[in-house]
């Protein structure tokens, strides 16, 4: 166990260092001027081999076809290759924002106008010309969805008041107040915000849930699809980015995430590239000659929610005591053969604005390997709150999934042993968990929540905001809410970072939830697949297009 734990920690520290360095470099980069932005467009590599088929295994089939309305990789993993975005994350590092359908962009000095200059000659798969009207229709739908349409990314564009097509190839987003540039550009570059045709939206009353393969401008075109089996695409010969994509045919297989089925399909060569592998298959792939394995963080936090409306859980001292009682390294280890995880606090541990993960695990109480000091402090807090003898009969609502079931038992034991807090586990199916959590029918509840961006302004309001949709703990802290509101509007990166650290301090003292761990993604591929290494990617939602990937045989 210790050997793997050391290995994980080392890998983790290396990754954090690399991500931090990347983030620092990225933060130093100015918004691209027209020329540099144009230069940054991803170009075809003359040494890449053209042709062949890429077989990609990812997730189960999508529940519907509307990427904008979706929140799962089931959609984005399969459909992304058929679409483009306004701007995108560079597929070579997964982080740098580069031009896509917008050849270049300008941000007004006051930060209230984002003007995008669109490429000419881009065609949708049905032959129609791409213009600013399509971008306008797409983003008006995202920012202000029609009735019956729900788009999780809508809050990202809450500051946008007008979207104006200045001419067929220029579009301007007008904001009521400036937002941090990395946040806004990150929102535009989000892989969820695919550009769809205005006519497609009009023809389908703005709802694409049951419209399969609506035309995009992307590098691959729809060929056929067998539900819950495979989605087959072919190279778009009219793709605007000449020379791309490299492969002639893309086959996206729908396979359950973290399943031996996905792992075995990859290991036996029935797939060329597998995403969301289970740890056992991933380790096997890593040891297998001719295969490469990579890991990268995902925008998901696994957490225990504490119902603040139920005494004595409203007392911050009790919540902090529970927070300190968790041995997070042990919790990561508990699920090591089920799902890859890493230790973190209330802010994504791999994001440049948060306390560096190395500092977190070495210095901060509650995250260290040696839990003695944290447990001592936890006991002191419980005594101070008048619960030195513990708390009995708390209902612990557990989502029916392998990781949560394992964690709940471990957390139950940790709370009992350290603080004499007794919990009764109640395991329920996923949708019931959300219903019960929203209704407040729990004392403790374990689940995972996600965000679109790694930027705190995306999830501070959703996870920790007063009445935030994922604030299942019903937590409020006026000082934090004020600070979060300032962070959302602060455009100076340095000041913003300081404020995020202050927010972290508030969250540590008055925990809205108990962070259990952060999710990692395990990818592996046969070495004949070239042109992609996701080690520096942040999450699985932004770079899933396969336009720069080729196969050697």
């Amino acid at each position: 166990m210790s050997r793997h734990a050391d290995l994980d920690r080392r890998t983790f520290l290396k990754r954090v260092g690399a991500a931090g360095a990347g983030a620092v470099i990225a933060s130093r980069l100015p918004a691209p001027d027209p020329a540099s932005a144009q230069d940054a467009t991803v170009k075809a590599d003359p040494s890449a081999r053209r042709g062949g088929t890429l077989r990609f295994g990812v997730h189960t089939a999508p529940a519907h076809f509307d990427v904008h309305q979706s929140g799962t990789v089931a959609n984005i993993g399969a459909q992304s290759p058929m679409y483009d975005y306004l701007i995108r994350r560079d597929p070579r590092d997964g982080q740098t924002i580069i031009p896509d359908l917008a050849q270049r962009w300008e941000i007004s000095p006051d930060g209230k106008k984002y003007t995008f200059h669109l490429r000419r000659g881009v065609k949708f798969h049905d032959g129609a010309d791409f213009t600013a009207e399509d971008v306008k229709a797409t983003y008006e739908r995202i920012a202000s969805p029609p009735k019956g349409v729900v788009i999780p990314r809508t809050p990202l564009f809450s500051a946008v008041t007008d979207i104006v097509a200045l001419d067929p190839y220029r579009i301007e987003f007008r904001l009521k107040e400036a937002r941090p540039r990395p946040f806004m550009l990150g929102a535009f570059a989000s892989g969820w915000n695919i550009i769809v045709r205005k006519k497609t939206l009009e023809d389908n009353a703005g709802n694409l849930r049951q419209v399969m393969a609506y035309p995009g401008t992307g590098p691959f075109r729809h060929v056929s699809r067998k539900d819950k089996e495979v989605w087959i695409m072919e190279r778009n010969p009219d793709y605007w980015n000449k020379g791309l994509p490299y492969v002639d045919r893309l086959e996206v297989y729908h396979m359950p995430p973290f399943s031996p089925e996905l792992g075995s399909a990859l290991l036996t060569g029935k797939l060329d590239y597998g995403r969301l592998l289970d740890p056992v298959s991933w380790r096997k792939a890593k040891e297998t000659p001719g295969m490469t394995a990579a890991e990268f963080p995902q925008s998901v936090i696994q957490a225990v929610f504490i119902n603040n409306k139920k005494a004595p859980l409203g007392d911050p001292r009790v919540r902090r005591a529970m927070h300190l009682a968790l041995d997070r390294h042990a919790l990561v280890d508990v699920v090591r053969d089920v799902a890859p995880m890493l230790v973190g606090g209330f802010v994504y541990p791999f994001h440049e604005l948060s306390t560096p993960a190395a500092e977190l695990v070495s210095k901060r109480l509650g995250y260290q390997k040696d839990t003695k000091a944290a447990v001592q402090e936890a006991k002191r807090l419980m005594a101070e709150a008048g619960h030195a003898g513990g708390i009995k009969n708390l209902t612990f609502l557990v989502r029916d999934a392998a990781t949560f079931k394992l964690w709940s038992v471990a957390i139950q034991a940790m709370l009992k042993e350290t603080l004499n807090i007794e919990t009764n586990l109640r395991t329920v199916q996923i949708s019931q968990w959300f219903e019960e959590a929203a209704a407040g029918n729990f004392d403790l509840g374990i689940s995972a929540i996600v965000s679109t961006l790694m930027d705190p302004s995306d999830y501070f309001s959703a996870w920790y905001g007063k009445d935030g949709p994922q604030n299942y703990s019903n937590w409020t802290n006026p000082a934090f809410h004020d600070l979060a509101s300032q962070i959302e509007r602060e455009v100076d990166d340095g000041r913003r970072k300081t404020m995020v650290r202050q927010a972290e301090e508030i969250l540590e003292k008055d925990p809205p939830l108990l962070p259990v761990s952060y999710e990692k993604i395990y990818d592996a591929w046969h070495n004949k697949v070239r042109g992609q290494n996701p080690s520096t990617f942040f999450g699985i939602y932004d770079v899933v297009r396969w336009d720069t990937v080729w196969v050697t045989s």
Binding site: T60, A61, P62, A63, H64, F65, Q69, S70, G71, T72, A74, K147, G148, V150, I151, P152, T154, P155, R209, Q210, M212, K226, D227, K228, E229, V230, Y253, M255, P260, E261, S264, A265, L267, T268, G269, K270, L271, V428, Q429, I430, S431, Q432, F434, E435, A448, I449, V450, S451, T452, A462, P469, Q470
Partner: protein
């Protein structure tokens, strides 16, 4: 005969109506809704209550239960079976695409169960308490005790690690590529067939033990008939009746077991479609697939009843 048939058909129909009501009611009173699968965790959390209500209305789940039930019955009678909540696919198309694979698995499993179970039962019965009988009995108890999905997982892992082998990932029909099709169905069929074969072997053994003590078997032997002829012509046909009845019942186990075994082998048959539909809470798909399984089960049992007369001329239907 016709009267009997009509009576059995009416009985089958009333059973199916009962089953349909149970499926329908259970699926609607179970907690949870399909919107989590539809919108993902983030999307679901951000759905406003009136949006949830509107989408449930669009899906037809806000209508009164009798209206929903009547709509389903109408769909069944027109043969369309409705559409998936999510992607709008016709359930009938799902059945036509995946059904042949599950049907092949079921038929092959029955064939294997008979091919394995009957000879084992015969050997056990004609050499009671011998080594072969003891081995056969031990094996049959073993296969009765082992859950099919577990055996399936072991086979999948063994073939993966020893032979680096994995079955095809998508549906391949018999008429498209018989070899690939065989690869898909053979594993689940063997697992299900061996499980059933164990029941058949035990039933065949006990029935044959009774029959071979009958006067007509003794007479046949006294006439000087060869042992094989005694077994095949005199003992076996009379011992088969309970075995056939058991096979009909076991078909239900094949149908039920195929859901877990298809999942274990990763075979994209109807059983797997049912599992995914349950996870997604795609009510329309679940209720139609369960109903299909119920129809097949009832049909097989009626067919088994009718086969009695063919096997035993003394039986007359009234």
């Amino acid at each position: 005969m016709r009267k009997y048939l009509l009576r059995r058909a009416a009985f089958g129909l009333s059973t199916l109506i009962g089953v349909s009501l149970i499926i329908f009611v259970v699926l609607r009173i179970l907690p949870g809704d399909p919107l989590v699968a539809m919108f993902g965790l983030e999307g679901f959390a951000k759905l406003a209550p009136d949006d949830r209500a509107r989408i449930m209305e669009d899906l037809g789940l806000s209508d009164p239960l009798p209206v929903q039930y009547a709509r389903w019955m109408h769909d069944i009678t027109t043969g369309s079976l409705g559409r998936s909540f999510f992607r709008g696919e016709k359930v009938s198309e799902i059945i036509l695409h995946r059904g042949p694979l599950s049907a092949e698995i079921g038929l092959l499993a029955v064939l294997i169960s008979w091919l394995v179970g009957l000879p084992v039962g015969i050997i056990s019965a004609f050499r009671p308490n011998s080594l072969s009988d003891n081995v056969a009995r031990s094996l049959s108890i073993l296969f009765l005790a082992i859950p099919g999905f577990w055996l399936g997982m072991l086979i999948v892992l063994a073939t993966l690690f020893w032979f680096n082998y994995k079955t095809p990932l998508v549906v391949v029909h018999l008429w498209q590529d018989p070899w690939a099709n065989l690869q898909l169905i053979v594993g689940p069929a063997i697992v299900l067939g061996l499980g059933q074969g164990a029941y058949i072997a035990r039933m065949a053994r006990s029935c044959l033990l009774e029959v071979i003590r009958e006067d007509y078997v003794r007479t046949a032997r006294a006439k000087g008939l060869k042992e094989a002829l005694v077994v095949m012509r005199h003992a076996l046909p009379n011992a088969l009746l309970p075995v056939i009845t058991l096979s009909g019942i076991l078909m239900g186990f094949v149908l039920g077991g195929s859901v877990a075994v298809e999942q274990a082998f990763g075979v994209p048959g109807l059983g797997r479609a049912l599992v995914v539909a349950v996870i997604e809470r795609d009510t329309i798909v679940v209720q139609n697939l369960v109903m299909l399984y119920a129809v097949i089960f009832v049909f097989i049992n009626v067919a088994v009843d009718l086969s009695y007369a063919w096997l035993d001329p003394r039986i007359r239907y009234r």
